[in-house]
């Protein structure tokens, strides 16, 4: 990316951040429409994260609704100086998901996830086997490793953003993002290796 394009992207990001800040301020004052705009902006991303984590679209949809309703209730206590708003939502989504898993067992297949169609049956089978293995190996990891893998490699967040979401220092996240793939690889090898 050129320096000019990087600068333009940074300026656009600044603009978006200020717009979010303004919407949050209005929502803090009880403006439901402003919170509706925040819902429009962040709901798809939070939903995507939840689908990956709970592996059931309907359940993810329900949790996402609960997250945003809780966000509406709690936003008067939200402070700009603390966690960025996006990270604040992620934290609520994570906590809500943990609550969900406390009362139900996680599913172990890709029910509800729209797996892209493959043209060849063998390839489809191989892909499904690989995906299943990765998902099973993921389920055997610690929660920290799971969260870092999903946020870093599926949601494509930076170490800084993940630190904000998890409430950890960036240097800690860097350590986790190195050890999480190592742990995943160990689990895969214990399960017989990649197909």
């Amino acid at each position: 990316m050129s320096a000019a394009a990087t600068d333009a992207a940074a300026a656009a990001a600044e603009l978006q951040e200020l717009q979010v800040r303004r919407l949050v301020d209005l929502a803090k004052q009880g403006d439901a429409q402003a919170f509706g705009h925040l819902y429009d902006r962040f709901h798809p991303e939070i939903l995507r994260y939840l689908i990956v984590r709970v592996r059931d679209r309907d359940v993810a949809e329900d949790i996402a609704q609960q997250v945003f309703l809780k966000g509406w209730q709690a936003i008067p206590r939200y402070e700009h100086r603390g966690t960025p708003f996006r990270a604040w939502l992620y934290r609520m989504a994570h906590n809500q998901m943990v609550d969900h898993f406390r009362t139900t067992r996680p599913t172990t297949d890709l029910e509800g996830v729209d797996v892209p169609e493959e043209s060849e049956a063998d390839e489809r089978l191989l892909t499904a086997e690989t995906n299943g293995l990765l998902q099973d190996a993921l389920a055997r990891l610690s929660e920290d490793h799971r969260q870092v893998l999903v946020l870093r490699f599926l949601m494509e967040k930076s170490a800084r953003e993940i630190g904000e979401i998890m409430g950890r220092k960036e240097v800690t996240v860097r350590g986790l993002q190195m050890r999480a793939p190592q742990a995943l690889r160990r689990e895969i090898e214990e399960m017989g290796g990649m197909p």
Partner: protein, 457 residues
Amino acid sequence: MSQDAARGRLALEEVVDLCLDDILMEVASIEDCLDRYPEHREALEPIPRTAMAFSELPMAAATTDPARRVTFMTALQETPQDARRRRLPSMGLPAGGGTWAGLWRGALLGVPAAALALVALLVVSTSNPGVASAATLTVFAGQVEQQVDDEWILAIDGASMPEGTILRTGSASRALVTFPDGSTATVDASTEVTLRRIAVGSTRTIEIDQASGRMWNDVVPVGSGDSYVVQTPHALISAHGTVFETFVDGVTAVRADAGLVRLSARGESVEVGPGQQATATVDSLVAATQATVTAQISVDAPAVAYLAAADGAATGALSTGVVFRQLPGVSTDNAGSDGNGQRFTLGDVSPGRYSLVVERISEGEGEVVIDTPAGRIVMPVPAGSGLSSVQVDVVEEDGERTVRAVEPEVRTVERDDTPGVRISEAARSRPGIDVAALAAARRADDPTTTAATVATP
């Protein structure tokens, strides 16, 4: 674990982070990364390979179901919000310690605005050590108001303005906001701004929301990690250490007088360079064009000078070395007609009478030169030490602005006869000119050896 071992482990974590960034952004392959860090190849190789295999997991499409949104908005209307934290939102008092905040709030709401501002300053200045989060207000003319608990109250000259403060000026008023780093924003008549964020510590973040009117920003050069941003209803303006004007009235117009400004709107952005202007509306972004210069006033003399309006707002330099730019539409630099001295560039400056005050820093001949489209006026600076002054009028004729000298000469004056300059403490600490070096260079009678410069962003 030895220190070297600890450094080695950290180095690998750093390398992994750099590699993953590049691979995820598709600017490098796994092989590229392994080649780049051969000393880490063995330890590094399995990490990105496993990570990239994981990143190939299918991701569900996650668009918002319109029916679910309707359900959500209905539920929202029926869901009460939690109680707000007890704090003083409009004064920006920190929430730390609800009990204390509550006590402050109860105690403060009944006291005059001046006391309110003073206590806000004390609380803010002690709440976050190392980070200054309040500006200082200087009222030049008329009444300036600040919003407290949704009501407009008179803002006090010299008061501290914590972040979150909303200010507005009347149709005949003007004020100056001085930030902790010495950057200033002149808030012209009929202008409303919110000091959205002020955080000056090891880095600087200053964010201003400008709802209407005109603001003249003089920004101390922005370093890595710093930002000075003005948000308007139409655009975002980012400064990199510069002097620029923002004007909001149905559109957002930006004019840069020094340095670079970036105007961003609707996903596009334009760079506005010195002497250029650009405009953003709700549906368009007009590229930078050359701005009109009304006049240039050069002080080609061993002196420093400032140009002051009747209300005390001024632009120029003092013999102490302090440089200030408070007058909207007037910038200053050290590029006089002989390559030295001091020059004032007058752009979209308000009509009225202004005093040019010249203070000698050493003996020697000199002159004041006023260049306008109508012609050039040259007036000698009086010999001897001390102060001299000449008054000029900015007038508007047939839609064009021009500058005229009220008197035909620059006259010697006493200090009491000159308009004073009001500079907040923070602005005195920003980089200025080395007057001693300037005087020494002048005494050597060799303009090319002049070591001092007026600080230009």
